[in-house]
């Protein structure tokens, strides 16, 4: 963690800003659509954690791989999954990324390197190692990133995969979004030793802790990790300290297990607000410019919802299609 990172050039700054706002607004819109009775699924909102996804994806190429968990809308959007198709997927429409068959916890789009969210905690971690192995054997320098939570850190599959990636020197970057809770369970209770990044030393690999509310701190660590991965110097852990603003999912009231003060503390360090302030302060963009970005995002979201609304339901035949390639 570094105190203050210098701001990047204007276009990068605006693109990071845009990335974060896109996620925030997508989540808020999906939430509202759900409240209005549309079947968007039991969304695990990523609001509050935008900087992690955007910071991590900043140094990824389209052909790099990302694997997510149950809370993955931000990963998908940051990796470039189409917003319209995502919205259609949430609503279970035929035009969705997954033809409406996966939903919020399983969004995937291989064309942009998003190899899938996954509803089982820890389950995607080994899969990421396989993607990195495949890149290595195919002789490319693609890297694979897998996101998991502070709760996910205690699944056995993570341990096995850290070891495997280390001995095989795979280009996997293990990103822990430590948002302090797994459902209602605080990380202080569940995580022996208190740090996911420090567990790296057990495997002889590099682990870094970053401020997950600062997109530049996240991306700085990511740049180092990607360089190592592409150079064949093996895997890394990045633990991003972050916070989810809402409950675990729509029906969860987080004030049953955390204080309003704590929430305020994090909201006061909001990743978008602070980054926006710096853009303006350092004159990389004007308030109007940023408003234009916001407006165009909102417009895209209107289009996405319209697209999803107007899209057809999957054909009943889809129930039994895609179980196999051939059977």
């Amino acid at each position: 963690m570094q105190d203050i990172h210098p701001m990047p050039d204007k276009s990068t700054a605006l693109s990071l800003y845009q990335g974060m706002v896109t996620i925030r607004e997508f989540e808020e819109r999906a939430r509202r659509e759900g409240d209005a009775g549309k079947p968007v699924g039991g969304i695990h909102s990523s609001v509050g954690q935008e900087a992690v996804a955007v910071g991590i994806c900043r140094y990824l190429r389209k052909d790099d791989y990302v694997l997510g968990n149950h809370r993955s809308h931000h990963h998908c959007l940051a990796k470039g999954v189409d917003m319209k198709e995502m919205m259609a997927e949430l609503m279970g429409k035929a035009t969705g990324t997954n033809k409406g068959k996966g939903g919020t916890m399983h969004i995937a789009d291989k064309n942009v390197g998003m190899l899938g969210a996954n509803g089982v905690i820890g389950s995607n971690v080994p899969v990421a190692a396989g993607a990195a192995l495949s890149a290595k054997l195919r002789g490319t320098d693609q890297v694979a990133v897998v996101f998991f939570g502070d709760g996910g850190a205690n699944q056995g599959a993570l341990h096995e995969t850290l070891n495997l990636a280390a001995i095989w020197n795979l280009g996997v970057i293990f990103v822990c979004e430590n948002n302090r809770y797994a459902e209602s369970t605080p990380v202080e209770y569940s995580l022996a030793g208190g740090s996911v990044a420090n567990r790296a030393s057990a495997y002889g690999i590099v682990g870094e802790t970053v401020d997950g509310q600062d997109v530049l701190d996240v991306s700085a660590a990511m740049e180092r990790a990607v360089d190592r991965a592409r150079a064949g110097d093996g895997p890394s852990i990045i633990e991003a300290k972050t916070y989810r603003y809402y409950g675990h999912h729509g029906a969860d009231d987080p004030l049953r297990y955390r204080t309003r003060d704590e929430e305020e503390f994090y909201r006061n360090r909001d990743c978008i607000a602070t980054f926006k302030a710096r853009i303006i302060e350092e004159e990389l963009g004007t308030g109007e410019e940023l408003q234009e970005i916001d407006a165009s995002i909102l417009e895209s979201l209107d289009e996405a919802v319209k697209f999803a609304d107007e899209s057809p339901w999957p054909d009943p035949q889809e129930l039994v299609a895609d179980v196999y390639v051939t059977y």
């Binding site: 079947p39 699924g41 039991g42 997927e89 279970g92 429409k93 969705g96 997954n98 409406g100 068959k101 996966g102 939903g103 916890m105 399983h106 996954n118 509803g119 089982v120 905690i121 820890g122 389950s123 709760g151 996910g152 205690n154 699944q155 056995g156 599959a157 797994a182 459902e183 209602s184 369970t185 605080p186 202080e188 209770y189 569940s190 995580l191 049953r256 297990y257 955390r258 204080t259 339901w313 999957p314 009943p316 889809e318 129930l319 039994v320 179980v323």
Partner: protein, 356 residues
Amino acid sequence: MTTTESKATERSRISFVQSINEAITQEMERDPTVIVMGEDVAGAPGKKDQGFEDAWGGVFKLTKGLIGKFGPQRVLDTPISEAGFIGAGVGAAATGLRPIVELMFVGFYGVCADQITNNAAKMHYMFGGKVTLPLTIITNTGTGAGAAAQHSETLYSIFTHFPGLKCVVPSDAYTAKGLMTAAIRDDDPVIIFLHKLLLGRTRAGLRPSEEYAVPEEPYIVPIGKANVVREGEDLTMIGIGYTTGLCLQAAEALQQQGVNAEVIDLLSLSPMDEETILESVKKTRRAVIVDEDYPRCSVASDISALIAEQAFDYLDAPPKRVTPPHSPVPYSIMLERLFAPTKEKVIQAASEVLEA
């Protein structure tokens, strides 16, 4: 009289969840060796001094209130380490406790199957009967919540496959309490499968209200016994948990057409009450089996094979299974509703069996 009546009314409104919760509470009161472990079974662990406790009480509130009564020594929130804590349940059961562990959704079995099928199921046998494993596993199953392929499975068939495990599936608040109590008191490992769509239901969901009030005092629904929940002569419909309700609804509809269906609420998959099934089918000569688990190598297959092999000479028609297709659970609500058995599909199957 009024007090008794209103008491009965109240008890008849007890939901499936409350009923499980009551069974656990009563057994924990009765037996200090009963403990509960699982993710967020209380919630906000370690935060009591900050004024937080029992924030969740389990993802479906099955264990709500327990920590207040029994404290964090006996109600243990766990990290997301199912192999770890279910394995710990095995070790605790082998050394004098009666642990209840929650596997939040049955589809997560894959991260801890080794503890369930290699240790819990086999230790008693491998050790020559010298160690017992009074472990209860609670798990949640079923479609109907738009939760897609990994969070909507049924899967009791694969546990029924393993010798050494007992598997039970309550169908309403009454059987939920009784089977839960029986499971906790049982000296073998028992898995109790709870269907999401039943959890909020009162007993009236399955059978008419007050006369079927859930008793307040502890009782047991014996493991291994099926219930004939509706008598009839024209065909036998066999339901499991949630699908028993579908069978009853279908039976009502068929009654309009003059068909008198018998409905069996299976309740227990391992051991399975073959006698009740066979007796009924020998009487009605026709059988429809309704199951939400995947069709291949399933409890439905087992029952169909049982009937075919043991009641062959009595049958007027081949048994028929109503199950999902051989396909994962789709997300889209428009597809999901085509997946599982419905009342209409049961009626359709019954008609086919009656015509055969």
